[in-house]
């Protein structure tokens, strides 16, 4: 039921609501399906627009899932932005609320401690792996890679405020020194 560029807030809510409860691991997991829905099925934007909006959501402060806000805004203005974001966030927020309460209530049970001990290294591995994949993507040159490594060492070994490091990175890049 592709209807050209005339997407409504309701249709946006439908698209993002469907993806909410399958987005294990966050927005990146459902990105291919989101692109299929937004670009191919509904024809709301081109592939290039979609990639640009995602890059913008990554560069901006805040969670990367705010790409939903940008897509909604692009398609149907403020109502679209609110509908898309609420539809993406709402269902998983309710599920987390339900599960996290039980998780905390059972915190002293032996099985719960065992599950926690088992999940811990998987969590650590996932976070480190994501850091490696991200670092590879941003290492456009040897200079960028060196900047990433220096920033990692500084922020591990010192109590330097991270904003100084980010500001230095942006300045070095803008000055063409990387």
């Amino acid at each position: 039921m592709s209807d050209g560029a005339g997407g409504t807030a309701l249709e946006l809510a439908g698209v993002f609501g469907q993806l909410s409860l399958v987005s294990i691991g966050g927005i990146n997991t459902v990105l291919p399906e989101l692109q299929r829905q937004v670009v191919d099925r509904h024809g709301w934007m081109t592939e290039g627009d979609f990639a640009a909006l995602f890059a913008l959501a990554q560069a901006a402060p805040g969670p990367n899932m705010l790409v939903s806000t940008l897509i909604g805004w692009h398609v149907a203005g403020l109502a679209g932005a609110l509908a898309a974001t609420a539809a993406l966030v709402g269902p998983c927020a309710v599920l987390t609320w339900l599960v996290a309460g039980a998780w905390h209530r059972f915190r002293d049970r032996p099985w719960r401690l065992l599950v926690q001990a088992g999940l811990m290294p998987v969590t650590a591995g996932l976070v480190v792996a994501a850091a490696i994949v991200l670092s590879e993507a941003t290492a456009l040159s040897a200079g960028h890679a060196l900047l990433t490594a220096t920033a990692a060492v500084l922020l591990t070994a010192t109590r330097l405020h991270p904003l100084w490091v980010l500001g230095a990175g942006a300045t070095l890049g803008a000055a063409g020194l990387l």
């Binding site: 997991t29 805040g62 969670p63 932005a81 927020a93 990433t148 922020l155």
Partner: protein, 185 residues
């Protein structure tokens, strides 16, 4: 670890809102590093081990980790009002910022200085994410089984580029079984 809870004052609903608003607004390159810094190092709402535990739960639930983290933490301290305050604090200001950026994006994205600055910012942000990952992994120190499992996960995702969900669904039960087995032995 069953929380040797030091007597901490639970944060108020307003503190939850402002705490998450503060990390939403400065969370360049992902919010997780700032979330850990705010919750563990600055406001001491959670110990490092509690943070990693809660993050582990949130990773296995659908939705962005950081959104789930805000809901889980807010509801633990202050029920539904706390969860709503943390979530709205986290995303409301960034939503405004991202829409404003979207409005000026078309005009400036082609400018070479802006593009190079954004690339430098992204590379530095990667360093921040690496430093945070090392902190999150640090409770594994000295636990050979945990280190081995973490390395397997890293190899699967970062080296072999296996998809996330099947990797999680395979490694989590394996890890739990191995931990159960070594405890019995």
């Amino acid at each position: 670890m069953s929380e040797p809870t030091p007597p901490r004052e639970p944060p108020t609903v307003a503190a939850l809102f402002w705490g998450f608003a503060s990390i939403g607004v400065i969370g360049f390159g992902g919010v997780l590093p700032w979330a850990r810094r705010m919750m563990v190092e600055q406001r001491r709402w959670l110990t490092p081990a509690e943070f990693t535990d809660l993050l582990g739960l949130c990773q296995f639930l659908p939705g962005p980790n950081i959104v789930n983290l805000s809901v889980a933490l807010g509801s633990r301290f202050r029920g539904i009002p706390g969860a709503a305050a943390a979530l709205v604090g986290l995303i409301s200001l960034p939503m405004v910022i991202v829409m404003a950026l979207g409005a000026v994006y078309a005009a400036w994205s082609d400018h070479p200085v802006v593009a190079r600055g954004a690339e430098g910012l992204a590379a530095a942000a990667s360093g921040l994410v690496v430093a945070t990952a090392l902190k999150i992994a640090s409770p594994l120190r000295g636990q050979w089984l945990g280190i081995g499992i973490a390395l397997l996960v890293i190899a699967a995702i970062a080296l072999l580029r296996l998809p996330l969900v099947p990797t999680m669904l395979a490694m989590a039960p394996l890890s739990i079984l191995l931990h159960a087995w070594t405890r019995r032995a």
